[in-house]
Structures are given as C-alpha cells and as structure tokens.
C-alpha cells in the first residue's frame, strides 16, 4: 500500500500552502487535494472515484467543523476501509484532543504546523 492521494481539509489557505510545502520538503510526492471545510470534504469524497489514502483534518472550520465531518463520515460507508484520518489542528483545548482521539476513524492528532515527525508517523501506516 502506498501513499498516493492526500486530502487537506482546512479553511486556512496559508496552512494548506504550508502543509503542501512541508510534504514536498519531505519528499512526499502524491496527489494532494484541498477542501475548505467539512461539507466540501464530504462532497469531495462523494464525487471522487478513488478514496484518498490520508485526510489531514482541521477542527475549527466554518460551515462544517471537523467533528461534524467525522459524524457525517461515519454515517456513510464509503472509504471507511481505505482512508486514514489524522487531525491537524492549532486547538490547545484538551477536550478537543480527547474527543478526537476517541473517534475510531482518527489515526493521529497533530498540533500545527505539520512537521517532519508528523509525516514520519503517517508513513508508518503505509510501509510495505
């Protein structure tokens, strides 16, 4: 299994830019798509034929936040077996972290910005 497709879900374009720069910096060369909130992410998953291997999910977003997204995602069956979700957030609320790591689809919880260590951790799920 290889890491071929990543979906960034964040309302902050600078962060999305930074994340792409960090991924490139660490030699992660794959398809990277972006969604600006939960609803866009759901739409993307609905629309796409192939599921992303990884979703990097921010929590605080307008329209639909990260937790609402996870709830909706759980209601559908698509991508459940394939996609690994990691939370990437600047929240320093302990409740947020608790709630996020308890979700069965969340594989990791990262403080922004995305770093080399985060990428290493993600890659452990895709080693052959």
């Amino acid at each position: 299994m290889a890491l071929n497709k990543i979906l960034l879900v964040d309302d902050s374009e600078p962060f999305n830019y930074l994340s792409k720069a960090v991924l490139a910096d660490n030699k992660v060369t794959c398809v990277i798509n972006e969604a600006l909130n939960g609803q866009e992410a759901l739409d993307y998953l609905e629309r796409e034929e192939t599921c992303p291997d990884v979703i990097l999910l921010d929590l605080n977003m307008p329209v639909m936040d990260g937790f609402d997204f996870l709830e909706e995602y759980a209601k559908r069956e698509k991508c459940h077996a394939h996609t690994k979700i990691f939370v990437l957030t600047s929240s320093n609320r302990a409740e947020d972290k608790d709630r996020a790591v308890k979700n069965k689809f969340v594989m990791g919880y990262f403080d922004k910005p995305l770093s080399y260590f985060h990428i290493k951790e993600i890659q452990t799920f895709f080693e052959e």
Binding site: S12, P14, F15, L18, N60, S90, N92, R93, K112, P113
Partner: protein, 851 residues
C-alpha cells in the same frame, strides 16, 4: 384483844362449871339443881359479858349466885338427900371456878388498863388521831386533838359530823371508803383504808384510817372507834417510787443496775431493746461477760477509778452487740454508796447516739463543706504560716503537702489577683483598712477557684502589725453563678440584635443598647413610653392587628418589618416576639428580638453582583482562551511561512535583515501567546476539581525531575546547587504544580545569575509545623530592586532584566500555584547581591513518624 381474853376465860370457866354440874346431875343428886341453876345463870352472865361495860354487873351476879348456893345450898342438898361431901365438893368446885373466873377478870382488867395507858401515850406522843362514833348515842362523833392537828385545825375548830367527814374525804377516795365501811359493818371485816383528807389549807393528805366497831346483841353496830395516821410522806414517796419504777421502764434511756460485785440485777425495757438482749439472759452476770464495749478515748481502769471517787462518769461507749452490730452510746454511770461509804452497786444510763452521731457527722461534713479554711501568720516578720487542714482541703491538697508561708500563698494566687491582694494587705497593715477580697487560688489540679479571703492583723502598741490571722471561703460556685448571670446580662447588652421588652399596653419595659441605637433614644427616654413613639413600622405581609393577635393568642410572632426612625433612617428587621404571661399581678409583656437584616439584603445584592462578576470573569477567561487560540493559528502559519521564505532563498540579500526582524517578531508573538496560554491552562487546572497537576509524589522525585532538566544548565554556568531537604524529602507534594514552582524558581536563579561570580543556589526545606513546610531558594545573582518593583514582582508579564529571554510569567505562575494550595510566598532581594524566595507549602500527605 381485851375481848378475846375475856372470852377465853369465860369459856374455860363455863366449861368447868358445865362439867361439874353435869357430873352432879349424872349422879342423880337432886341437890345439884341449884348448881344447875347457877350454871345457867353463869352462862347467861357470860353472855352478858360480851358487852364489856356489863362485865362488872355480870361478875356481881355471879358472885351473888355462888354465895346463895354456898350459904343455902346445904339445906337444899340435905333435902335432896345427897351426901354432904358431894354437896360440899360441888360448892367448893363452884367457888374455885368463880375464883378462877374472877382472877381472869382481874387479869383482864389490868391488861385493859395497861393498854389504855399505852394508847394514851401513843395518842399524846406520836401519830394517830382518834375518832369515836357512837351510833347508839345519836351518832355522836368525837375527834381527838391530834385528829384535828393532823388535819391542820385547832381542836374543836370544826364540828365532827358525817357531813364534814364526807366533805373532807377526797372525792376519788370517797366511794372506796364508803364501800369499805359498809362491808366492815356488815361482815365485820377489817376496816383499814388509805385515803386522802382535805386539810385546812385545802391540800389533800394521805391517811391510814383504822376502825373497830362494837355491835349490839342483834349484831347492830353501836359504836365505832378508830384512828387516823398521817402517811402522806410515805404515800408520796411510794408514789414517787412507783412513778420512778414506771419511768425506768418506759424511759428512752437504757438503764442497768449492778450490785456491789458489778453483777447486773436489773435492766429496763429500753436496755433490753438497746442491747438486744433479754433480761433473764443478763441478770446476775457481769456486763463485760455479756457485751463487748470500748470506751471512746478513755481507759476503762480510769473510768472505774473516777467512779470510785463517787463522781458521775460521762462518756461515749461503743458497744458491739452479740449480732455484731455496733452502737455508739452516750453513757452516764455512777456507783451507789451507803452511809458508811461502802459501795452498794452501780447504775448506768445509756443513750443511743448512733443516729445522732450520724447526723453529727453529716452536719460536720456539711459544715466542712462550707466552712472556712483558716490560716495564721504568727510573726509577720517571718515567712512562715500555719494553715488549717480545711485550708489544705479547700485547695485540694492533703495537710502538709505545701509549706505554709506567704510566699507559697502568693505562688497559688492567680497572677491577675496578686497585685490587688498584696496592695490590700499593705493597706491593712498600714491603714488598718478592712481586709476582705475575692481572689482565685490555684488548686492541686491546676484549676483556679474563687475564694473570699478575709484577714485581721494584730497590731502592737506602736501600731505595727505583729500577727495576721485569716480565712478563706470557697465562693467559686457563687462567683461562677454570678458570672453566668453577669455574662447573660452582658450578652444581652452586647448582642448585635435588639432586645426589647414591651408591656401589653405597648409601654417599653426595657431595651438593650441596640434597640437604643435603632430607636435613636436612650433607655431612660424609652422606658414607659409607647414604642411606636419612636419608630414607624411597615409590617411585611400582614397587618398590625394580626401580629397583635398572634402575640397574645399564640404567644409568639415572627416576621419582617420595615422600620423608619424619626431621623429617617430605614432598616429592615427580622422580628421574633414571644409573650410572657403576667406575673404577680403585673401586666403581661412580650420580649422581642430585632435582627437587622438590611445588611442581609445588601448581601443578597452583593451576591448577585458577585455572581455576575464571576460570569464576566468566566466569559473573559473564555474570551482570552479563544483569543489565544485564534491568535495561535495565524502566528503559527506566519512563522511557518517566514521559515519557508527564508529556506527558499527567494529573498534578496538587502531584504534579509528585514526577514530576520519579521521572524523575531513572529517568535515573540508566539512566545507571548504560549505564556498566556500556559497561565490560562494553569488557572483552569488549579480551579478544576481533580486537577491534573495534583497527583502526590515524593519531594525527592520531584526535585530529581527538575534537576534532570536544569543540572546541565547549572553545570554550563559553572554554578553549584546545595540542597538541604533531607528532613522533607519523603513528603508528598502535588507533582506537576510543585515541579512548576521549583522549576521556575531555580531556572530564574540560573537565568539571572551574576556575570562576575560563580552561581550559587541554596535550596532548603523544613517542616514549619504539622503538615506545613517552609522552602527557601537563595541565589547570589543579580537581584531585584524591590524598592521600585515590590508590587510588580509577582505580576503578569513582568520582567526585570532584558538581557536574557523570559516570558515574564514565571513568578506569577509560582505565586498562583502556592496561593492555590494555601501557602504564602515572600521575596527578599538586593541588586547585585542575590535573591531569596521563601514560601510555605502544605502537604496533603505529611509524613507520620512511622514512615
């Protein structure tokens, strides 16, 4: 006596005459007839002789008859053909009989004479008064002079009569006397009675009355003669003796009579009861054989000796009865001696004082309970006194436990009472001022008790005190009781509530200070006035009439009243009223307690405000939190973007310093945000229940943890850390929070070290008292000028040195933590010398001695 003599002689003579006459007739001598006639006559004359006064007549007839027989008898005898010698024999025998008779008569007469003479003597000389009652001579009565004398009269002063006799006879004795006399006159029984006659003086006296009665032929009493003998004294003595005998039997004292050999010959009933012994068991025995006794405080030999001196011995004797019972008896005993001084016996009287003794003991106890302890200071120039046993007892000591002296007394005095007592003593000595003072003395148990102390000095001729005698009386109860009442009165006076008593006619009876304040009037102005003169009221939720009914019907009322004084001061009062029924004809009253709850209302408002404030604070905290979060994200993004720009070399060389400044500003923003965040986190953590930083860990481990991080820095700075925490190292403290305190303080010391000298940090910890520990962290660093910065030291974002990077929240965090755990922190610092921070910290898990 005279009569019986007569009779005997008469019978003998008659018997002989009859016998001789009988013999003559038997021999059929006819001339015996005259002798027979003579005999008959003789018998008849003897019959006459029963009457003594006819004795002489009888004798004369006798003689005549005999002479007749002797002179003319021969002729008759001859005529009857009797031999002469028989006739003669009869004649002589008759003469002999007559002579015999006469001789008897003479003898009798002589005897009578003698008796009469003797009687006369007796009558004159001694006792009896005689009386004579001649029933045959018209009931004529006669009393001898002595008779009169015995009754206190002059002879002949009163006329003896049946009436006077009856008058004189004691009414009680009259019936008996009458009965005895009646019986005597009808059955010839003895007449002898003891009876009382009234004397001239009106007194009754006892007499022994005897009487003899002469009867006529028909047995009719003709004369009664008798005597009276004064037996008054004897009778009285006898009565006394009888009374005494009765008394002895019934007297509540036990009486024992003993003979000269000390053997008991009589005991009374009380003694039987007292000694629980029967009379027959003890009679004839020595008292010592029957009863065990000990004489209290005296030797039995001494007691006997003193009794032999004919004195009455009195004392206390404790008898042990046969059943083991012990009795305390008060005994009086004396020996009885006869005129020659020989001991005749002894008598003892015993009073049971067992009960009395118990009572006495109780009385003594009771007296002791209140009685004074006495002390004597015989020579005021010496520190030596004498204290009575009671004195020691009052203080809880045994006699002699303390050495009695003024100095000892002084040491027992309550410190607050020493001065007053000694001053008064001085006054007493110098100015003879009355010494009476209430003071407290320390008892053996260490408690102080109140005593009333009095003393009186004896002064010498120059007016100098020589000797001081005094007493102490336990007044502790009274004092405490008085104190309690005084306390209550004081309490009412001081009570923050108003206490008001009002009569049913709404007149104020009493008011304490707070009512006075509330009504804006003095007690004098208020008493007797209607309480509504002072205030206007608005009773909340009810009417005045309803309140009034409640008070007088239910006995109480409770409610809230708005009160306005004349000066316009308003207050809200909680009122509790209780009615007191009328006493001793006085008007019923009610007692009201007024609690000013205006403040309560203000408090309520304050609480609401506080609640709002808290909500605001919460909101602000939330706001700060969200702000911090919302700032965090863009700062992080900015930092990342600047880094990216720097790495990508897309910046011209002349722009590089600019980029660097942007980078530093971003970092600063980032750090401030982090500090803010950490404070918010700590606050949340400290106020949260079950906070995360509170897990208890041993100090040793916490310090190792801190040093693990900071040791390299100290080493790098060429410094040294000394610690003195052995005493406390096993005590548990809240891990994260305590670590934060130690970390901040030690890292501050490292950060602000002096550049010119080697860093020296001293850390110490000691137990201040149970469960509270004192920590100090002292360094030799730069120090802070506290004169300028004292108020700011623990403020947020305060930094005193800018050559090193610091967030300015370290000391603020430290203080927050320490205060959250109820400790205190203090800083001492001098610029260029160093800083010493001391703080206290409680451990929830202090060491016990066992671990």
């Amino acid at each position: 006596m005279q009569k019986s003599l007569f009779t005997r002689t008469t019978i003998i003579t008659t018997a002989i005459s009859v016998a001789v006459t009988g013999l003559a007739i038997y021999y059929q001598y006819l001339n015996a007839l005259p002798a027979s006639i003579y005999t008959v006559l003789l018998v008849a004359s003897y019959a006459f002789d029963r009457r003594s006064r006819n004795v002489k007549v009888a004798a004369a007839v006798n003689f005549l008859m005999l002479t007749l027989i002797i002179v003319v008898g021969d002729k008759f005898i001859d005529n009857f053909y009797a031999p002469r010698w028989i006739t003669s024999t009869i004649g002589y025998v008759s003469v002999a009989g007559l002579l015999l008779y006469l001789s008897g008569q003479v003898s009798d007469m002589r005897q009578i004479k003698e008796s009469e003479e003797r009687l006369d003597l007796a009558l004159d000389g001694i006792t009896a008064g005689l009386w004579d009652w001649k029933m045959d001579e018209g009931n004529k009565r006669w009393w001898s002079p002595r008779y009169y004398e015995l009754l206190g009269y002059a002879p002949g002063e009163i006329e003896p009569s049946a009436h006077t006799s009856q008058e004189m006879t004691h009414p009680v004795d009259f019936e008996l006397a009458k009965h005895t006399q009646h019986k005597h006159l009808h059955t010839a029984s003895k007449f002898e009675i003891e009876q009382r006659y009234k004397t001239k003086s009106g007194e009754y006296k006892w007499f022994l009355v005897n009487g003899q009665t002469k009867f006529d032929k028909e047995g009719k009493p003709v004369r009664m003669i008798g005597s009276i003998i004064d037996i008054d004294e004897k009778k009285r003595n006898q009565q006394l003796i009888e009374q005494q005998a009765a008394l002895i039997q019934i007297i509540p004292n036990a009486i024992i009579y003993g003979d000269r050999n000390l053997n008991i010959y009589h005991i009374n009933e009380t003694a039987e009861e007292l000694f629980e012994i029967k009379k027959h068991e003890i009679l004839g025995k020595r008292i010592t054989e029957m009863l065990n006794y000990e004489i209290v405080g005296q030797n039995p030999e001494d007691v006997l000796a003193s009794m032999r001196n004919n004195t009455v011995w009195k004392g206390e004797v404790i008898f042990t009865l046969r059943n083991g019972k012990r009795k305390s008896l008060l005994a009086s005993a004396r020996m009885v001696f006869n005129a020659e001084g020989e001991m005749q016996g002894w008598v003892g009287i015993y009073n049971d004082i067992t009960v009395l003794k118990n009572t006495q003991e109780r009385l003594q106890l009771a007296t002791e309970g209140t009685a004074a302890g006495i002390w004597d200071w015989p020579d005021v120039s010496k520190d030596e006194e004498w204290w009575s046993p009671r004195f020691y007892q009052l203080l809880g000591y045994a006699e002699g436990d303390l050495s009695p002296a003024l100095s000892t007394f002084q040491s027992l005095l309550h410190p607050d009472d020493v001065k007053g007592t000694l001053t008064l003593l001085d006054e007493h000595f110098k100015n003879k001022k009355r010494f009476e003072i209430e003071y407290r003395l320390r008892t053996k148990s260490g408690e102080y008790k109140w005593f009333l102390g009095s003393a009186q000095a004896k002064y010498n001729s120059t007016g100098q005190p020589e000797r001081l005698v005094g007493s102490i009386i336990d007044i502790d109860d009274r004092k405490r009781g008085a104190k309690t009442i005084a306390d209550y009165a004081e309490l009412i006076r001081m009570m923050p509530d108003g206490v008001l008593r009002v009569s049913k006619s709404r007149k104020i009876v009493s008011a304490n200070g707070n009512v006075q304040r509330l009504f804006e009037a003095t007690a004098e102005e208020m008493v007797g006035k209607d309480f509504t003169d002072f205030i206007s009221m608005n009773i909340l939720g009810t009417t005045r009439d309803a309140v009034w009914n409640n008070i007088w019907i239910n006995g109480f009322w409770r409610g809230e009243v708005e009160v306005t004084t004349k000066s316009g001061k308003q207050s809200l009062l909680l009122v509790n009223i209780k009615a007191t029924p009328a006493e001793d004809g006085e008007e019923p009253t009610w007692l009201g307690i007024y609690t000013d709850i205006s403040m309560l209302r203000i408090n309520e408002e304050l609480n609401i405000a506080l609640h709002k404030l808290e909500e605001n604070n919460k909101y602000l905290e939330q706001f700060a939190y969200i702000s911090s979060h919302d700032i965090k994200a863009p700062v992080i993004a900015l930092e990342g973007l600047v880094d990216l720009l720097d790495k990508n070399d897309g910046v011209k060389d002349e722009q590089k310093p600019l980029l660097k400044m942007i980078k530093r500003t971003t970092q600063q923003m980032q750090r401030t945000n982090q500090s803010l965040n950490s404070i918010l986190k700590l606050r949340k953590n400290l106020t949260d229940t079950g906070n995360e930083g509170g897990e208890p860990v041993r100090l040793q481990i916490i310090l190792e943890d801190v040093m693990g991080t900071l040791e390299p820095q100290i080493a790098e700075a060429g410094g040294q850390l000394n610690s003195d925490v052995l005493e406390v190292q096993h005590v548990m403290f809240p891990y994260m929070h305590f670590k934060s305190v130690m970390y901040n303080l030690i890292s501050n010391a490292i950060k602000y070290r002096h550049p010119d000298r080697a860093l020296q940090i001293d850390v110490s910890a000691h137990e201040l008292y149970q469960g509270v520990y004192l920590f100090t962290i002292q360094d030799n660093g730069l120090g802070i000028d506290l004169n300028r910065n004292k108020d700011k030291v623990f403020g947020i974002f305060k930094r005193f040195h800018d050559h090193v990077e610091g967030s300015g929240v370290g000391l603020h965090i430290v203080k927050s933590i320490i205060q959250a755990y109820g400790g205190n922190i203090k800083i001492e610092s001098e610029p260029n010398k160093g800083t010493k921070i001391s703080f206290t910290f409680k451990s929830m898990y202090p060491l016990t001695n066992n671990n």
